[in-house]
């Protein structure tokens, strides 16, 4: 009898501990997609110490939650994010940044952009605008792990209750809104759980199934291009972000943490991308060096002056991998009890590394609005509340999206006059500090 009793108590404890138990659960917030932006929203809401019930639904959660301690000896990361000063400030405020190892962050204080055809260039320096750095390159995995460590710590010490669901969403059940009466949406997960919540935050990327299920229109433009990412070792140490506009698209070399490690993002035509992806390492190194240092007749310019030109690439450490380049934007960010953040709301060209920064800006704005709403006991799912978020974020995101698209268009044009004006424009800009300052302020998220 006593065994039976003890066993049933044990089972009961397992039942409450195990989040994967089937049944309907109610939450204040369900975050669909636990990538960088989703995790940052979660950390932000938990940070405010609100007694909120939050659920994160992410199929790869187990990987993110696993502690880095006994990870397979660090292989070189491939996917990185350039965190601009504004995002960095916010991550510091959320105490996520401090959880990153200083060896995982590579900040750069100088950026050089030059055009392969006109030869004109422009150099940005953080000291020109009084910033500490222009940005920091962090491996996505490292940043994600820091976010989850912060979430777990807040879940332990603060009042927020956070549940993790290691699964995807199977079906969404939205109910129509009538005179301010909107029933809570029900999300059925692939593992059988049913989540019932006040507000769904969709952070599930540009292909967002959540957005599609809510019938929010999405317009997109495919650039007919792919971006290739490679992690490389350079011959010399550098602390500059290099970006060169080739006739086929921009190529960027970003310093990463580690001994002479850098990350290359090369946007190019689909054909060239497929050739490069299947090329041998030696051939790829050759192509990369040509892309950065090559001149018209395919001879590599080996300048000793490392301030002017990027260092020569000597080794491929990881990659290549490639992904398609799509510009996309949702026609609205909010619906009753639904809000889109990050790439689910907008996807931009990676040429200035702005994607994740826009996502963090969305997250920061949303967290702020939810925090204000909580102070006055408002329902998080109210459309009038969520519209504030759309009102604040949509114009800014559209501005950035169109600026990047404009840059891409100007630099991909091979028309003589455009090319000439481009070169002239860059030279003029390069000598005019206020204009440079304005550009940096815009790119670093300083303009609020």
């Amino acid at each position: 009898m006593s065994f039976w009793l003890r066993r049933s108590v044990q089972l009961w404890h397992q039942r409450t501990l195990c989040s994967a138990l089937t049944g309907t659960k109610s939450y204040d917030i369900v975050i669909v997609g636990g990538g960088l932006v989703g995790a940052a929203v979660c950390a932000g809401v938990a940070q405010s110490g609100s007694p909120c019930k939050i659920a994160i639904v992410e199929p790869n959660l187990q990987k993110f939650l696993s502690n880095s301690v006994e990870q397979e000896e660090r292989s070189f990361p491939l996917r990185t994010s350039t965190i601009n000063p504004a995002s960095q400030r916010w991550l510091k405020k959320l105490k996520i940044w401090e959880l990153l190892d200083s060896q995982e962050i590579a900040s750069f204080s100088r950026m050089k952009v030059w055009d392969s055809r006109s030869g004109s260039s422009i150099v940005f320096h953080s000291s020109e605008v009084g910033l500490e750095s222009l940005g920091s390159v962090v491996a996505n995995d490292d940043l994600l792990r820091a976010c989850y460590r912060r979430i777990q710590r807040s879940a332990m010490s603060k009042q927020s209750k956070i549940d993790f669901f290691d699964s995807g969403v199977d079906t969404f059940q939205w109910s129509s809104s009538h005179r301010g009466f909107t029933e809570w949406p029900v999300l059925t997960l692939k593992d059988g759980n049913e989540l019932h919540c006040r507000l769904v935050i969709a952070a599930d990327g540009s292909n967002s199934p959540t957005r599609k299920s809510a019938n929010i229109p999405w317009f997109s433009h495919y650039y007919q291009q792919r971006a290739i990412v490679v992690t490389v070792r350079t011959e010399k140490l550098h602390r500059t972000a290099w970006q060169r506009f080739l006739s086929t698209g921009p190529i960027a070399l970003l310093p990463m943490a580690g001994l002479n490690v850098s990350n290359v993002v090369w946007s190019t035509t689909e054909l060239e991308a497929s050739i490069l992806s299947s090329a041998t390492k030696e051939a790829l190194i050759d192509e990369l060096n040509k892309a950065f240092l090559g001149v018209a007749n395919d001879t590599i310019l080996k300048k000793a002056d490392s301030e002017e030109y990027p260092p020569v690439i000597s080794e491929i450490l990881k990659g290549p991998a490639s992904f398609p380049l799509v510009l996309g934007h949702a026609t609205e960010y909010v619906k009753e009890r639904l809000v889109l953040v990050g790439d689910a709301a907008h996807s931009v060209h990676p040429l200035a590394g702005q994607g994740v920064n826009l996502g963090f800006a969305d997250a920061r704005c949303l967290v702020e609005i939810l925090e204000n709403a909580r102070m006055t006991g408002r329902d998080f799912g109210e459309i009038s509340l969520l519209l504030q978020y759309q009102l604040r974020r949509l114009p800014k995101n559209l501005l950035m999206l169109s600026s990047l698209h404009g840059l891409e268009t100007i630099f991909s044009s091979s028309l003589g006059p455009v090319s000439f004006i481009r070169g002239l424009g860059m030279s003029l800009l390069g000598g005019f500090i206020p204009a440079k300052k304005a550009i940096i302020d815009f790119a670093s998220g300083k303009i609020e």
């Binding site: 109610s26 009042q159 009466f181 809570w184 102070m375 006055t376 006991g377 329902d379």
Partner: protein, 287 residues
Amino acid sequence: MKAISWSSGKRILKLGYYRYVSEVAKFNKHAKEWWSPTGPVAPLLRFNPARIAVIRAAIETYISSSKELQQLPLQGISILDVGCGGGILCEPLGRLGASVLGIDEAQDAIETARKHVSLDPFLGTSVKYRLCSLSDLVSEQLQFDCVTCLEVIEHVENPQLFLDTLKQTVRPQGLLIISTINRTFFSWLSAIFMAENILGWIPKGTHQWQKLVRPEEITWCLSNDMKLLSSVGFAFHPFDNTIRLTRNLGVNYLMVWKKCSGNQSIGEPVKSYAVHEDNKECPKREH
């Protein structure tokens, strides 16, 4: 605060003679629209966050309780919302942790309120609604830590009698929070002429200017056994569509009253909702 003028006090006594429009029927008509962000109550919904911020601040400042143990800011506070309508004030207060009772005499409004609160499983039992009048609660001798009465007094037949009854539902040392529209030229211009006739935000005939109540008149009725702690005005900023707090009580205003201990008007011992024991003196009015 201006000195209480006797003429304005007398005016309140006279208000009962004004033509009585069936106010309850008027509110029943729009009962289904209480939560609609585009309906006739939408301006009230817009005022809501600002008013809740003030109410929350008043309760936190003047009704002290041990904050460390609480998860929610208003936990353990009992609130009565008189004229709750569709429950647009009750639900947020409930979410802040208070146990709220909303009463209204319009049946449809109460039904709307009950239906809406049932959508939110987290509110559970903390928000309740009753179809009854204020005097029913008085006869049941119920008292609350805080009684809120927002945008109601301008719709009642006899404000003085109403305020007298309202007082009796507040526990000693409890708060009475009244919000209404002032009877000034500007209130006529903005709350009636602009909002009803020009912009069409609220249905025509919602407010009669003659029935609006001035702060002095409320003071005249309440100052016997209650103390005015603070009063604040609300201003609508048309450019950014927000509501801000102001010192100007010219249009919409809110007053926070505290009931002084030892209320003689009730006389007999009362069954109290109140859970707090603090016999401190009423704090001095803050400027």
